[in-house]
């Protein structure tokens, strides 16, 4: 996993609330046994017209969205299905951070395991970001802040362990495997 310390990028804004993981990647694209290459199916039903051509009105298809790594979205992003294909599709497309006022629990957990940072901000900050699409922002994990062009640094909460793993670019399985002695002891107590 690619280490995440700090990224600076223009934002792309999708100002809808309750964007569910069926929108992020529809179920028919889950018939895969791999996790790469899902970026082309990101937001497929919004992004493509019935004939498969890109929908020119959808924000991710606009030239200004090219290369954006930070997605701004409405409340309760990632609700619904537990499919990890959602963060896989987002990161494969190039998104490294999503900013919202809240995230669904399973999506948040999945994102943190895939180098995708869920940035929770207050309503006013989100409104400002929605009103200023294409703003250059910095998501800085060391300081756990979202830095705005006017100099404001908005702190966001992130679990220390998840932050450590993101910054080191290590996955969490190594840590779990390192607790083998405790796991074995638990199993013996509960045999």
């Amino acid at each position: 996993m690619e280490a995440f310390t700090s990224i600076s990028s223009r934002t792309v804004v999708l100002p809808l609330a309750d964007i569910d993981t069926d929108q992020i990647i529809p179920a028919r694209f889950l018939r895969t046994t791999a996790k790469d290459g899902l970026g082309k199916e990101l937001f497929a039903d919004w992004r493509y017209l019935a004939d498969g051509s890109p929908n020119p009105d959808f924000v991710l298809n606009k030239p200004a969205a090219a290369g954006c790594k930070v997605l701004i979205a409405g409340d309760n992003f990632g609700c619904g299905s537990s499919r990890e294909h959602a963060p896989w599709a987002l990161t494969d497309f190039g998104i490294r951070a999503v900013v919202s006022t809240s995230f669904a629990d399973i999506f948040r957990s999945n994102a943190l395991k895939n180098g995708l940072v869920p940035v929770v901000v207050d309503k006013d900050t989100l409104q400002w970001l929605i009103g200023h699409p294409g703003t250059e922002v910095t998501v800085d994990l060391a300081s756990s802040t979202l830095q705005l062009p006017d100099g404001r640094a908005v702190a966001f909460p992130i679990e220390p362990f998840a932050r450590y793993c993101l910054m080191q670019g290590v996955d969490q399985l190594g840590y779990l495997l390192s607790r083998n002695a405790e796991i074995t002891a638990y199993e013996q107590r509960h045999a």
Binding site: P15, D20, R31, E182, I183
Partner: protein
């Protein structure tokens, strides 16, 4: 005196391998890991690349449900699965389970079915257990007083390799449902009403415990319907304290303790109920007697109204206009009488015997309205067999419905059972998201009773008109 504890707290504490600290999440032991074809292949690949075995084969059970066909000739008749990617995924699960030694209830097994239907049916789901699966509706198993929740594929790998998960402790939310549900009002209506009340993000970060007289009065199938949709309120899990109804359901199931061990297990399970005076982080009280048959009108399960009601005239929901445009509804529109083209009875929410009996009971002696397509997909092969023994299949077939083999089917259309663009699908499933049942499909979530009544009229119908 020890501090009174909630059900959640007791189950959590009994599974802490390493407690949570300021810097690290808890290492939580998992008693039962259910796997299926969609969210496991990448986890097996991870194990393979690291040279790791599955730690506890005795705690891991596989089945196939999402991508699998429901047409009998494809399941049993030797005809191949028509969707190549689905066939490949099913094959991958067979290969992975064989290679790692995981028990698999495969396509031909008479124990196969939707993962959240077979766990309880086999008695693998038990009070006090921690249960996970790479599927958000794992919350279903909480109906037995288990702590059960959906995980992503990376975590599926964690559990396969270590039988543990890294977890931060959730907050607790008590939903006290007092009073009695009126005739014609089901567990599905109850949970839809609760989601309408607290919102699709209302349970985020919390484990819900459903409590109160109306919950105690539900049978296990109905309790599973309620816990199943906890995730639709954003909750990490939903739980119900185990009681005599729970023990009665589980007794003599294939995978529960037998004989003296059964008595010992029940004695242990009796200690799980939330203690008198235990504190929840939040509490909500709901009056069951005020709930009507409910139906969704929008594009998430919180957009819901009584069947006898209307689409709201206005809303502060920022996606209200978008949802109406997608659904082809107008603000303030009356719901009853609005056309229904497809009816789906099935999914981990409403595909158990109680659901099929309710729908068949209403449907008996009636025919589907002209032009209505109706699919009845039992939750498991065992449910199918029992329903057939009761003659429920005949009722559905004689009414003009299709009777299929078990699976997730039209809930999410991964297996090709989809709803065409623009059509209205009255579905007993759990999600009415845009495109959930097919590109452009318009889903109306309701109970099996409302589904059956609406199938007869070809329009949204209050099931009490048939009672």
């Amino acid at each position: 005196m020890t501090m009174p504890k909630t059900l959640f707290q007791k189950v959590w504490e009994r599974h802490e391998v390493v407690p949570q600290t300021a810097d690290t999440p808890a290492v939580l032991y998992i008693d039962l890991h259910l796997i299926h074809e969609v969210t496991s292949p990448q986890a097996f690949s991870e194990l393979r690349s690291r040279g790791l075995p599955v730690r506890r084969l005795d705690r891991t059970l596989g089945t196939m449900d999402h991508s699998t066909p429901t047409r009998t000739e494809q399941v049993f008749g030797g005809k191949p699965i028509t969707i190549e990617s689905a066939a490949k995924q099913v094959k991958a699960l067979e290969t992975n389970c064989a290679e790692f030694g995981v028990e698999l209830l495969d396509l031909a097994s008479d124990k196969r079915g939707i993962v959240h239907v077979i766990g309880p049916e086999l008695g693998a789901t038990q009070p006090g257990k921690t249960i996970v699966c790479g599927d958000s509706h794992t919350s279903t198993h909480g109906a037995f007083g288990a702590l059960a929740f959906g995980i992503g594929t990376t975590e599926v790998g964690h559990v396969l390799a270590t039988q543990c998960l890294l977890q931060s402790r959730a907050k607790t939310l008590a939903i006290n449902v007092e009073g009695t549900l009126k005739p014609g009002v089901t567990a599905k209506d109850l949970v839809l009403a609760i989601i309408g009340r607290i919102g699709v993000g209302g349970g985020t970060g919390h484990v819900i415990e459903f409590r109160g007289a109306a919950i105690r009065a539900l049978n296990m199938d109905e309790r599973m319907t309620v816990c199943n949709m906890s995730i639709e309120a954003g909750a990490r899990a939903g739980m119900i304290g185990p009681d005599e109804v729970t023990f009665e359901y589980l007794k003599d199931r294939p995978r529960v303790p037998q004989g003296a061990d059964w008595d010992k297990a029940v004695a242990e399970w009796r200690t799980l109920a939330t203690d008198e005076g235990a504190r929840f982080d939040r509490e909500v009280t709901v009056d069951a007697s005020g709930i009507e048959p409910m139906i969704t009108w929008g594009t998430h399960p919180g957009m819901v109204a009584p069947v006898t009601g209307s689409v709201p005239a206005t809303s502060d929901d920022p996606v209200f206009d978008r949802a109406l445009a997608y659904m082809g509804f107008s603000a303030g529109q009356k719901l009853q009488g609005s056309p229904v083209n497809v009816v789906f009875i099935g999914s981990c929410t409403n595909s158990r015997l109680t659901d099929l009996r309710a729908a068949a009971g209403l449907l008996k002696g009636h025919k589907l309205a002209s032009g209505v397509q109706m699919l009845v997909v039992p939750g498991s092969q065992q449910v199918k067999k029992q329903a057939e023994a009761e003659g429920l299949d005949r009722v559905f077939i004689e009414a003009g419905a299709e009777w299929r083999e078990s699976g997730c089917s039209m809930c999410l259309g991964m297996n090709g059972d989809t709803v065409a663009k623009g059509l209205y699908s009255l579905s007993t499933s759990n999600r009415n998201f845009e495109g959930r049942q097919g590109v452009g499909a318009r889903t109306l979530l309701a109970s099996p009773l409302t589904a059956a009544a609406s199938a007869v009229r070809g329009a949204i119908t209050d099931p009490r008109e048939f009672m």
